[in-house]
Amino acid sequence: MSGVCLRHIPSNGSCTIREVRAEGELGHRIRELGLIPGARLSIVGRAPLRDPVAIRVRDYTLTLRNSEADYIFVDVVDGNTIEADRD
């Protein structure tokens, strides 16, 4: 079990990061901003074209594109339902 992709977490959903699969610069950037395994995050909202996504992590709001969110796998907290795959 490798968790759920961050892209599929609905707005207002909370989750815990299980794994960040990005390597190189992107992987480094994501982690340096505090998105590391074990970190709690919640989805604040999505841009009008449903991409990028805004998340709340470590007391601040960060936005990232869906293509970047695809590298982040999470465990869902509080039994949020998973949105059907839209793409």
Partner: protein, 721 residues
């Protein structure tokens, strides 16, 4: 007196610039860090018996040296060896802010930690025990509210005091059973060989090798290629081992452990929640509306339009004053300097040239005030967030929006501040694409050209034509951006990891300093390079003058008209004006610019332009509004007033070689071809002189292609019909 060099480091949006402005006030110098366009702000503050030279480093989240800003910060720390670094942390996002501090301390630097925005922290219902944080971190911690200028003297005292003590040993944090032995192994090897130890503590060098840190790899290879290769190989093996045993690379594990260290510190009673205050998050509430899928874009359009409208309507009056001032100077020049070449140089070259450039100053100042406001308030980040998906399809970035709007995306902006507004873009490829295409927009100087042609060839449909022109320029921006991003600046889009900072009211001081700095840069350019080019263009349109015999012919003809008694005074002056206009046409035809125009005719006829249009377009290289006045001269109408080009419109509409198709072709060409000279300079400043030259060649070729394609297709279709 002791002189202290102190760097100011911190995350973007941590209030770093506000703190720097509060400490140094107007006594700051602005320059550039060597080799890059990142601005360097410096200022001196006196406290006790020390002079503190503060250098404001660009906002960074880490020292990993991927971005230009991070490289700049690293260079400053390694090369200039500051006595101390003041690290500014955002109190409301302390965990993330401390990541940079950990890296600074691992380098063994003296630091003072500023915890800024304490007021916001309290409002959000949290308490921070600064004394406890200070004792746990082992460094001075100063709470501040930079925008209210509280905590500043305490900060300066802490800086002076900390700078005097012995340098602290580098911070050593535990990297767990996975990494610690690897770090020790590598550090031993590094220490034994005395490798890079003058620059980095051995343990840190080992960590950096495990992180595959770019700067240290380069430096190591230079210092000792063989040893460096051995260490790199060892680090690579270790990293592979990490991946196979723990599923993560050594670099990732290092980041994880730094955050674990920070969490453990903050968990020890440093941060607590004050249950008496109800947590109120205004930003989240506002964002529900401002980034809503429907309300968000509507509000954004209104904000963009308001920005544009305010700038233009407020800027118009002072622009008029500057123009009249230079008009007055020109009149004085004509009155007191004897007629002839010197007068012409002074009036047409220097005064008109510099006047045209300085006329933009109020517009630029207002535009920057507005842009700074949007940026410092946090709204700019929301616009980038909402538009990113659309812009990314064309290889641009959400942040490109401001550059396009300011350049004339709604019609009537100016590409000079537009290109400068692209400075907010942190992704290099997207920034180049933005800067190169922003000059396609309908800037205020192109509007008279478009208005003239629309009035001449589409009478009664001028507004509609202008609307379609603006729309077309957006289309061309997207096409050209896509073209550039799939060819010479191809490459994946830069990661869009952007913070949405809380909404904050910008400080007046910050806004004014910001606008002043950019205006001053622009004015300085006007005084030097732009003056030189104005003179050059004047010379091209003046030399070589008419041959002696033609001049005598005109002088003679003028004398004949004056001597005629059968004409009334009005008729006489009308005939004289017609004669002088003819002389002007012949003079310009005979000048270097005229010759260039004629030489270009074989190529330009493919797009439908004759030599007169060519001269006007060459003149437009200086400033686009010159196109109209030069066309006037070339069509022997004498001086054309920009506001009143009706006569020229009539003349163009009647001239047989000028058709509707030619007009559209000319509109296309003047929309797209080489940016005006001042913009080229601005492009050079932002992305380098090579790109500036490239923009001249690329935009002109692009424009030519578009114009020829249109002209030939349209002509062929007409002849078929």
């Amino acid at each position: 007196m002791t002189n202290l060099l102190v760097g100011l480091a911190g995350n973007p949006n941590s209030g770093k610039s506000t703190l720097f402005n509060a400490l140094t006030g107007a006594r700051q110098r602005v320059g550039n860090f060597p080799g890059v366009t990142v601005a360097r702000h410096e200022g001196a503050v006196c406290r006790r018996d020390a002079v503190i030279n503060l250098v404001d480093l660009p906002g960074i989240y880490s020292l990993s040296a991927f971005s230009e800003e991070e490289v700049v910060a690293r260079h400053f720390i390694m090369d200039e060896k500051p006595h101390l670094l003041v690290d500014i942390a955002d109190a409301t996002a302390l965990e993330r802010s401390l990541y940079l501090w950990v890296q600074l301390r691992e380098l063994g630097l003296r630091t003072v930690l500023v915890v800024n925005m304490m007021d916001e922290l309290h409002r959000s219902g949290r308490l921070l025990d600064c004394a406890r944080l200070s004792s746990l971190l082992g460094i001075p911690v100063v709470p501040t509210v930079a925008r209210k200028e509280t905590g500043l003297t305490q900060l300066l005292d802490a800086v002076v005091q900390a700078a005097q003590g012995a340098p602290p040993p580098p911070l050593v944090i535990a990297y767990g059973p996975e990494l610690d032995w690897m770090i020790e192994e590598l550090a031993r090897k590094i220490e034994r060989n005395d490798f890079l130890t003058t620059f980095y503590p051995a343990r840190l060098a080992a960590i950096k090798y495990l992180e595959e840190d770019g700067p240290i790899l380069t430096q190591g290879r230079r210092e000792h290629p063989q040893l460096s290769a051995e260490i790199e190989e060892l680090a690579r093996q270790y990293s592979l081992r990490c991946r196979s045993s723990f599923g993560e690379s050594s670099a990732s594990l290092i980041t994880d452990y730094r955050y674990r260290y920070i969490s453990s510190i903050l968990g020890r009673g440093v941060l607590s929640t004050d249950s008496h205050i109800r947590r109120l998050n205004l930003t989240d509430a506002v964002d529900l509306a401002l980034t809503h899928w429907l309300i968000g874009p509507v509000v954004m359009l209104m904000v963009l339009y308001a920005t544009f409208w305010l700038t233009i309507s407020l800027g118009n009056a002072p622009m008029g004053w500057i123009e009249s001032l230079f008009g007055l100077l020109g009149d004085l020049g004509r009155e007191y300097v004897p007629a002839g070449l010197l007068q012409s140089l002074l009036v047409s070259g220097v005064i008109d040239g510099v006047g045209a450039v300085l006329g933009f100053v109020p517009l630029i100042a207002l535009m920057f005030l507005a842009v700074s406001f949007l940026e410092d308030s946090g709204y700019m980040a929301r616009m980038a967030y909402m538009l990113d998906r659309l812009f990314r399809m064309f290889g641009l970035h959400g942040y490109s929006i401001m550059a396009f709007i300011v350049s004339g995306g709604i019609g009537g902006g100016c590409a000079v501040p537009g290109v400068m507004a692209a400075r907010n873009l942190r992704s290099p490829r997207e920034k180049i694409a933005t800067v190169l295409t922003a000059p396609f927009m309908s800037c205020g100087a192109k509007m008279p050209v478009f208005t003239l042609l629309a009035a001449a060839f589409f009478p009664g449909y001028v507004t509609g034509t202008l609307f379609w022109i603006t729309l077309a320029s957006w289309g061309f921006v997207f096409v050209a951006a896509k073209l550039l991003r799939t060819t010479i600046i191809a490459g994946p889009s830069t990661p869009f990891l952007m913070e949405l900072p809380p909404y904050r009211l910008p400080t007046c001081k910050g806004l004014l300093l910001h606008a002043w700095e950019r205006v001053w840069q622009y004015v300085r350019k006007a005084g030097t390079l732009i003056l030189a080019v104005s003179i050059l263009l004047w010379a091209a349109m003046t030399y070589p003058g008419l041959p002696e015999q033609r001049r005598q012919h005109y002088d003679h003809a003028a004398a004949t008209i004056r001597d005629r008694n059968d004409l009334s005074a009005e008729e006489q002056s009308a005939e004289l004006a017609a004669l002088e206009a003819g002389r002007a046409e012949e003079t310009i035809r005979h000048s270097s610019a005229g010759r260039i125009g004629q030489a270009l005719e074989p190529i330009s006829t493919l797009a439908g332009f004759d030599w007169r249009t060519n001269i006007a377009l060459v003149g437009g290289l200086a400033a686009k509004e010159v196109i109209v006045s030069t066309l006037g001269t070339a069509y022997s109408l004498g001086d054309i007033d920009l506001e009143n080009s009706g006569m020229l419109a009539q003349r163009l509409a009647q001239s047989p070689e000028f058709t509707k198709i030619t007009a559209v072709s000319l509109i296309l060409f003047s929309m797209l071809y080489a940016p005006c000279f001042v913009t080229v300079i601005a492009i050079g400043r932002e992305i380098g002189i090579r790109w500036a030259l490239f923009s001249v060649v690329f935009n002109t070729s692009f424009a030519y292609l578009a114009a020829v394609l249109f002209y030939q297709t349209a002509t062929a279709l007409i002849s078929l019909a």
